[in-house]
C-alpha cells in the first residue's frame, strides 16, 4: 500500500492552474542571472552544491599531498624531499582534510543542501549568512593554498603545538597562516551551525514533531550544537597564538609564566569533539541509506537519536586522551579513560541498531549500500583500535606512532569518507537528475576499499614496530621499509578508486539515466520534489505523518496552503510539535554577503601581518554589513502589514 502512495507522489501530473503557480514560484525564487548574479545567489541548493564541489576539490588536493608523502616514505633515508617541504606537506594534508574537507563536507555542505529539503521548507534560515559562510570558507582555503604555493605553507602540524609554533621557534608567517585558516573555517562553520539549528527548530513541515525529524537532520543538529560549543575553544587557542606571535603577548611562554599545555587543552577541547563532528554526519548518512536499502524504518529510531545526543555530550569529556603522555595526574587520566571507553556504548547502540535493521529488512545491494557495508568493515576496526587509545597504559605506547595514523584513518575514512561516497551515490540523482553508473560505482568501491586497507592496515604493524608519526624519513635497518612500501603501493589503488568515481560522475552527468523524483523509492521528503529540485523546492508544502514521510503518508495527506507566492515566504512552526506558527519572508539574493566575505578576508589576512589591520579592516567590513542589512521599502511595508495581520 505504501508503494502506491509513493508512486502517486512520484509522478505528479500538474493541472494547468498548478503549472501557473509553479511558474510564478520559480520566478519569485529564482537566482539572479548573469556573472554578477552568480555572486548574489543565496538559495540553499546553490550554496550547498558550491560547498560540496569546493570541499571535494580540497579532498582531492589533500589526497594528492598524501601521495607525495607516500612517495617520500617509500624509501628509507630518502632525499626526495627536504624535511622542510615534507613538514609543510603533512601539515597541509592534515589541515586541509580536517578544516577544508571533513567538517565543511560532512557538516556544512551536506546539511546546507539537504536539511531544508528533508524538513519540507523552501529555504534555509539566514540564507545570506549562508552565502557569506561559503565565501569565507572558500577564501580561507584559497589563502592557505596560495601561501603554500609560495613556500609559506604551515609546517607545524595540523595541531600547531606551542612553543614549536610560537614566536621563538616558528619563524616566518607560516604559523600565523595556520591560525587564520582556523579563524576562517571556524567562523564559517559557526554560521552554518546557527542556520541548521534554526532551520530545524523553526522551519519544519507541520506534523514533523521532534520524534519524526529524519535521523539525518537529528545528526546534523547534534553536530551543529557540537560546533557551537567546540569551535570557540580552537578559535581562542589560535587567536592567542596569533597574539603571542604578532602582538607580543606571552600566553604560551613558560619563561614568563605562560603555559604550553594550555594550548593543548584548548585545542583538544575542540579537537576531540571535531572527530565526532565529522563522524556523526557519517553515521546518520548510514542510517538514512540503510533504511532505504533495507526497505524499512530504521530499527530503534529513538535509541539512535538518544545515542547521537549522548555521543555529542560524551565527546566533550574525552579530550585529555590526546594528552596522556603530558604528565597529567593519574587520577584525572583515569576519568578520561573511562569516558573514552564509555563513548563506545552509544556508538555500539547505533551499530547494533544498524545490524538489526539489516537482518530484519530486505537488503537491496546497490552502490550506496556497498559503501555502507564497507563502512562497517572499516570503521569498526577503527572503533576497536580506539580502545587501545582510550586505555592510558596502552596509549602511552601507541600514541604518536603510525598505529595512531592507522587508527584515525580507519575512523575518519571509514566513518566519514565511506558514508560520504554512499551519500554521493545516494543523493547524486537528487542533485543532478541523473543516476550514477552502478558498474563504475562498484569498481570505485572495490578499488577504494582494497587500496584503503593495503595503505592503512600495515600502519598498525609498523607503529607497533616503533615507527613514530610525522617523521620525514626513517632509518633503513629498523624493519619499517617493506611495510612502508606496501602502504605506498596501496595509495595507487586509492587513487584509482577516486579517479573511477570522478569518471563515473562525469559520465553520469552526460549520459546517466534520468532519475525522476524518487529513484530509490525512499521515504524522505527530499524525494518528494523533482530532481534536481526547483528553486522553490516544494510546489505544495507537505505535512508529515512519520519519520519517513513519504512511506508514512496517509492517502489524503493534507498540504499547506495560504502562503504568499509572490514573495519568498516560508512557514514557521513550533519547536516541539511543529504546529504552524507564522509566516516569514526570506531575504532576496544580494551581492553584500559576498562583499562582506571579501572585507572579512582582507581583515583576517591583514591581521597576519599587522595587528592594526583588525581596526582598519573593520571599516569596510562595517560598511558591507550595513549594506547587507539595509531594508527595502516594499519589504518593510509587507512585514509591517503581516505583523498586524498576525497579531489580530
Amino acid at each position: 500500500m505504501s508503494e502506491q502512495r509513493a508512486v502517486m507522489r512520484l509522478e505528479p501530473v500538474l493541472p494547468e492552474k498548478e503549472q501557473a503557480r509553479a511558474a510564478q514560484l520559480a520566478e519569485v525564487w529564482k537566482e539572479p542571472p548573469g556573472f554578477i548574479g552568480w555572486f548574489k545567489a543565496i538559495h540553499h541548493t546553490t550554496i550547498g552544491k558550491r560547498f560540496i564541489l569546493t570541499a571535494f576539490a580540497f579532498f582531492l588536493a589533500a589526497g594528492l599531498l598524501a601521495g607525495a608523502m607516500r612517495l617520500q616514505l617509500a624509501f628509507p633515508e630518502s632525499h626526495l624531499m627536504s624535511p622542510d617541504l615534507y613538514n609543510q606537506i603533512f601539515t597541509m594534508h592534515g589541515s586541509t582534510m580536517m578544516f577544508l574537507f571533513a567538517v565543511p563536507m560532512m557538516f556544512e555542505a551536506l546539511s546546507v543542501y539537504l536539511v531544508p529539503l528533508m524538513l519540507g521548507t523552501r529555504q534555509i534560515a539566514f540564507p545570506r549568512l549562508n552565502a557569506y559562510s561559503y565565501y569565507l570558507y572558500l577564501f580561507g582555503g584559497l589563502m592557505l593554498f596560495a601561501f603554500f604555493f609560495v613556500n609559506s605553507g604551515p609546517d607545524r602540524g595540523w595541531f600547531a603545538y606551542v612553543p614549536l609554533s610560537g614566536p621563538d621557534y616558528g619563524p616566518g608567517k607560516r604559523a600565523d597562516i595556520w591560525a587564520q585558516l582556523i579563524t576562517f573555517t571556524e567562523v564559517s562553520a559557526l554560521c552554518v551551525a546557527v542556520e541548521v539549528v534554526v532551520t530545524t527548530f523553526k522551519l519544519r513541515a507541520p506534523g514533523m514533531s521532534l520524534n519524526r525529524i529524519p535521523i539525518f537532520v537529528w545528526g546534523q543538529v547534534v553536530t551543529a550544537f557540537m560546533v557551537i560549543f567546540a569551535m570557540p575553544g580552537v578559535v581562542v587557542a589560535s587567536t592567542m597564538l596569533l597574539l603571542d606571535r604578532t602582538c607580543g603577548t606571552q600566553f604560551f611562554n613558560p619563561a614568563v609564566g605562560g603555559d604550553v599545555l594550555l594550548f593543548q587543552h584548548l585545542f583538544w577541547w575542540f579537537g576531540h569533539p571535531e572527530v565526532y563532528i565529522i563522524f556523526i554526519p557519517g553515521t546518520v548518512i548510514v542510517s538514512t541509506v540503510l533504511s532505504t536499502f533495507c526497505r524499512r524504518h530504521m530499527f530503534g529510531y529513538l535509541a539512535v537519536i538518544l545515542s547521537l545526543i549522548a555521543t555529542g555530550f560524551i565527546a566533550f569529556g574525552l579530550w585529555v586522551h590526546h594528552m596522556f603522555a603530558t604528565g597529567i595526574p593519574q587520577m584525572s587520566e583515569s576519568f578520561f579513560t573511562a569516558a573514552s571507553m564509555m563513548i563506545a556504548i552509544p556508538t555500539g547502540t547505533q551499530i547494533f541498531c544498524w545490524i538489526a535493521t539489516i537482518t530484519t529488512g530486505k537488503v537491496v545491494l546497490k552502490t550506496p549500500m556497498w559503501w555502507v557495508l564497507g563502512f562497517f568493515f572499516v570503521f569498526i576496526i577503527g572503533g576497536m583500535t580506539g580502545i587501545y587509545v582510550a586505555s592510558v597504559p596502552v596509549d602511552l605506547q601507541v600514541h604518536d606512532t603510525y598505529f595512531i595514523v592507522a587508527h584515525f584513518h580507519y575512523v575518519l575514512i571509514g566513518g566519514a569518507v565511506f558514508p560520504l561516497f554512499a551519500a554521493f551515490a545516494y543523493w547524486f540523482p537528487k542533485m543532478t537528475g541523473r543516476m550514477m553508473s552502478e558498474k563504475l560505482g562498484l569498481w570505485s568501491f572495490w578499488l577504494f576499499t582494497i587500496g584503503f586497507n593495503v595503505t592503512f592496515f600495515p600502519m598498525h604493524i609498523v607503529g607497533l614496530r616503533g615507527m613514530p608519526r610525522r617523521v620525514y624519513t626513517y632509518p633503513a635497518g629498523a624493519g619499517w621499509t617493506v611495510l612502508n612500501q606496501i602502504e605506498s603501493l596501496g595509495y595507487l589503488f586509492l587513487f584509482a578508486g577516486v579517479a573511477m568515481f570522478l569518471v563515473n560522475v562525469w559520465r553520469s552527468l552526460k549520459r546517466g539515466e534520468l532519475a525522476g523524483p524518487n529513484p530509490w523509492q525512499a521515504g524522505g521528503l527530499e524525494w518528494a520534489v523533482p530532481s534536481p529540485p526547483p528553486a522553490y523546492n516544494f510546489l505544495n508544502l507537505p505535512t508529515v505523518n512519520g519519520s519517513e514521510p513519504l512511506w508514512d503518508a496517509a492517502p489524503d495527506q493534507p498540504i499547506v496552503t495560504g502562503l504568499k507566492e509572490d514573495v519568498r515566504e516560508v512557514l514557521t512552526t513550533r519547536i516541539l510539535d511543529a504546529e504552524p506558527e507564522g509566516r516569514d519572508e526570506m531575504p532576496a539574493p544580494s551581492i553584500w554577503p559576498f562583499l562582506a566575505a571579501v572585507a572579512t578576508t582582507a581583515l583576517f589576512i591583514g591581521s597576519i601581518f599587522r595587528p592594526i589591520a583588525v581596526s582598519i579592516g573593520a571599516i569596510p567590513l562595517g560598511i558591507t554589513l550595513i549594506a547587507w542589512f539595509w531594508p527595502t521599502r516594499e519589504e518593510s511595508e509587507r512585514r509591517r502589514k503581516q505583523d498586524i495581520w498576525q497579531t489580530e
Binding site: P163, E333, T359, V392, P468, G479
Partner: protein, 331 residues
C-alpha cells in the same frame, strides 16, 4: 613475557612495545594483548553476524515495498540489541579495570629508591645528566646514550630546553612528554642487558625524524666502570696529529657550542664531547660513530641532518683529519 611468543616474529627489534625488557613495558603488553584479544573476537563476531544478516536478508527484487515492521520480530531484535549492548558494556568494564590495574602496576616502581638521571630534550638531541655525585662539577654529562645498570630502578627527570619532545623507549616503558616549564618523571627498570633504542615521539620540527637515543643496560660492574670513566676529564692527546686536532677544535667554532672537560671548551649549546668516542652513535642516533661518518658530520652536518644546529665547518683536509683524530681519541 612468553604470552606473545607468536608475535615475536612479527615484532622483532629493540624499538617495539611488543618485546618488553622491563616490568612496565611487560604490564602494558599484557593489557595490549587483552585488548587485542577482546576487540579481535568482538570484531569477528560482529562481521560474521553482519555478513550472515546481509546474505539472508538480501533480495533480488529491484526495490520492494517498504516493510511494515512485525512486532514480534522487532521485540526479538530489541532483545538482541539489548543483550549485545550488555555484553559490550561488560567487556568495556573488563578492559577498563585491567587498564587501571596496569596503570597502578607501572606506577608502583616510583615508590622505590631510585637512581636519578636528568634528561633534557633539545632540537634535535638528548642531553643526559647523572647528578649522582655530590659535587656538581663532577657530574657526568653525556648525550643520546643513557647507561643504566640492569635491574636498577631509574628515575628519569625529563624536561625540555626548547620545544616539546617526547621520551619514548618502547621496550622499556610508554612515552613521557618533555615540556618546557614542566618536569615530568618516568621511573623505569630494565631486566635484560642490551642496547634498547628510543626516539622522540612528539613532532618537534625539521629533524624530528633524527632524534633517537640508546638506553644501554649493562651489569652493575660494567656500568660502574663506564661511570668512573665518564667522570674523568678528557684524555690528553698522545700523538702530534691529535694535539694539532685539539688546537683546531679550540680555535674553530666548535668551542662556541661544545664542552670538552679538561680544555677551555665549555659551552652547553651542543652535546658534551668529553667522551664522544665512547658513544656508539652520533647525531642523535643518526649515524654510527666511525671515522668516515664523523668526518662527514663535522665537515657538513647540514647534508646529513638538514636544519640541525651544527653549522658546516669548511677547513683544510689536514686540519679536519687531525680534528677527527682528536675526537676519536676522546674515549
Amino acid at each position: 613475557m612468553t604470552c606473545l611468543a607468536n608475535f615475536a616474529g612479527l615484532f622483532p627489534g629493540r624499538q617495539t612495545p611488543l618485546r618488553p625488557v622491563g616490568p612496565q613495558a611487560l604490564h602494558i603488553e599484557h593489557t595490549l594483548v587483552l585488548v587485542f584479544a577482546i576487540t579481535t573476537i568482538v570484531y569477528l563476531i560482529v562481521m560474521a553476524v553482519l555478513t550472515v544478516g546481509v546474505v539472508r536478508a538480501r533480495t533480488k527484487e529491484p526495490l520492494p515495498v517498504p516493510l511494515t515492521p512485525d512486532p514480534s520480530t522487532e521485540r526479538r531484535a530489541s532483545w538482541a540489541v539489548g543483550i549485545a549492548l550488555g555484553i559490550t558494556t561488560l567487556l568495556l568494564f573488563i578492559m577498563l579495570i585491567d587498564s587501571f590495574r596496569t596503570s597502578h602496576q607501572t606506577a608502583v616502581l616510583a615508590a622505590q629508591p631510585a637512581m636519578k638521571i636528568n634528561v633534557y630534550g633539545h632540537m634535535w638531541w638528548w642531553e643526559v645528566e647523572y647528578p649522582m655525585d655530590e659535587e656538581p662539577y663532577r657530574m657526568v654529562r653525556t648525550a643520546n646514550e643513557i647507561h643504566i645498570p640492569v635491574g636498577a630502578v631509574v628515575d628519569i627527570h625529563g624536561t625540555s630546553r626548547d620545544v616539546i619532545h617526547s621520551f619514548w623507549a618502547p621496550n622499556i616503558h610508554g612515552k613521557k612528554d618533555l615540556l618546557p616549564g614542566y618536569q615530568n618523571d618516568l621511573t623505569l627498570r630494565v631486566d635484560e642487558p642490551g642496547t634498547w633504542r628510543g626516539q622522540c615521539a612528539e613532532f618537534c620540527g625539521l629533524q624530528h625524524a633524527h632524534m633517537a637515543f640508546d638506553i644501554v643496560a649493562q651489569s652493575r660492574k660494567d656500568f660502574d666502570k663506564w661511570y668512573v670513566q665518564q667522570l674523568t676529564a678528557s684524555a690528553e692527546p698522545t700523538t702530534s696529529e691529535a694535539a694539532h686536532g685539539r688546537e683546531v677544535f679550540l680555535t674553530h667554532t666548535c668551542v662556541m657550542c661544545h664542552t670538552v672537560r679538561g680544555t677551555s671548551a665549555n659551552s652547553h649549546v651542543g652535546p658534551d664531547l668529553t667522551h664522544v668516542a665512547s658513544r656508539s652513535m652520533i647525531a642523535a642516533g643518526t649515524l654510527k660513530n666511525n671515522r668516515g661518518n664523523l668526518t662527514g658530520w663535522v665537515a657538513n652536518a647540514q647534508s646529513i641532518k638538514p636544519g640541525c644546529r651544527m653549522p658546516p665547518n669548511p677547513m683544510p683536509a689536514s686540519d679536519l683529519n687531525d680534528l677527527i683524530t682528536y675526537l676519536e681519541s676522546l674515549k
